[in-house]
Symmetry: C2
Subunit: 273 residues, 2 copies
């Protein structure tokens, strides 16, 4: 137990996914592939009340659900340079960071799998994500083979490292999309996963992600144009699920003339600081 604790949780960009609802939130989730990135979220927590996001009072349902599950009353300060609602898993990161820091401050004595399970369930029940939390807990280039929290899910990873770039043009409503009809999306996601499992490389990940974005009907005109520009400049880009955001390997976006944020993969998963 300590007076306060801090945690870092990597951002997570999903390239493709399939949705797998279940009445049990620890079994619900998604299959898919993504990138855990070094631009992430820090959570600082101490006994008290209220949530602050980048210096302003805010509400994040998944965070409230984590605090309820851990029976803690806490002041939670969330800080991130990542764009919000743009496909970087900020809500999942806030939930996971809250679970890790609550465990430390209130001496709950839970394991990493137990804390990930609580944060994953909270995010699923809040309707704000299906697979970011387990990927953010792992780090690297996570492949979600089976949906759900650690006791039910299964993961693998791509053993490559590359610098990355991203550029966000705005938000997309995750909750509406994953609460709607996801049959077509899930069929496209399953095809993308099969291709990636057959050849788990970053190049196949990017290609599968582009095909998924097209087949699932999620590409916006602006994202489609930027992805095309990066391809024409010889690079590899795709769309972050779910945001109006393009990510690219190496300097793909800069090479195509776009202002872009540069970042690295986060080899480490979420952790207390």
């Amino acid at each position: 137990m300590s007076d306060s604790a801090r945690a870092f949780v990597p951002g997570h960009v999903t390239g493709f996914f399939s949705a797998h609802p279940d009445d049990d939130p620890t079994k619900a989730g998604s299959r898919g592939g993504g990138l855990a990135i070094g631009d992430g979220v820090t959570v600082e927590l101490e006994p008290g009340e209220g949530l602050e996001l980048n210096g302003e009072a805010a509400a994040i349902e998944a965070v409230d659900r984590v605090l309820d599950a851990l029976r803690a009353t806490a002041r939670v300060v969330v800080e991130t340079d990542l764009p919000l609602g743009a496909g970087f898993g900020v809500s999942g990161a806030a939930a996971l960071g809250t679970a890790l820091t609550t465990n430390a401050v209130f001496g709950r004595g839970l394991s990493e799998n137990e804390l990930v399970t609580i944060a994953h369930g909270a995010e699923v029940q809040a309707g704000t994500g299906l697979g970011d939390v387990v990927a953010q807990a792992r780090g690297g280039v996570p492949i979600r083979l089976e949906p759900g929290a650690p006791a039910h899910g299964a993961m693998d990873g791509i053993p490559q490292r590359r610098p990355l770039e991203y550029r966000s043009f705005g938000e997309l409503p995750t909750e509406e999309i994953i609460a709607g009809d996801t049959d077509e999306l899930t069929a496209a996601g399953d095809r993308a996963l099969s291709a990636l499992v057959a050849e788990p490389t970053l190049e196949t990940f990017m290609e599968s992600s582009r095909r998924f974005a097209r087949e699932a009907g999620l590409l916006t005109p602006r994202v489609a144009e930027v992805v095309r520009d990066v391809s024409e400049a010889g690079g590899e880009a795709s769309m972050a699920m779910l945001g109006e955001t393009v990510f690219a390997l190496g300097s793909g976006l800069s090479d195509a003339g776009y202002d872009a944020e540069q970042c690295s993969l986060s080899l480490a998963g979420a952790h207390v600081l």
Copy 2:
């Protein structure tokens, strides 16, 4: 594919374990708890022949087995500041680093789980380790809940971070011990794991490790004396399995008057550089 590749694999100190032999080397392994540390092993690999360990020609059977499994003929350069044969998992690290770099150089297109499986199987068949490889692939403070490579094993982790110290006084013969009668050792390891699962904290890990070393009859007089000295100075220490090595939380060894190496936990698992 590239001309050469490098990988970093963290060292791994096992505090307690139980041995679980199986005819299938991907199912064989150990349960237990340990620490992945930032002092580790780098492997550089290119097409060619021969293995070099810290600048001298050497033979590591687990490395040869990995190269055989991946049908590669390579020159492997292994470098580490860790003491050899002293409980830091150097052979497992060399095997895992060889798997990661062979995959990169020879374009084998395998996933992280597949490469970990090959390295784990090679280490088990060489008789030089039972659980270091899966722990080194994960990073952090790994708890091995079920033995074996990723398809069969199960892991959790302790969500705490502390600086560490270690001091090695010499080697112990891992192969003889794990090939001998391990019934008593495994009973003690199972009790230690139950205690840690009930309360997955670093303090419980250290206490369970000390009890295991005593109950399994592995404590040498010198290690017992150092662990006692650290306790009397108010610290927490135990014995690395399997080496005549003492590790401690924080500055436990220095506080007791011993010269010690300082290191951090490795939050990242093994990875190509």
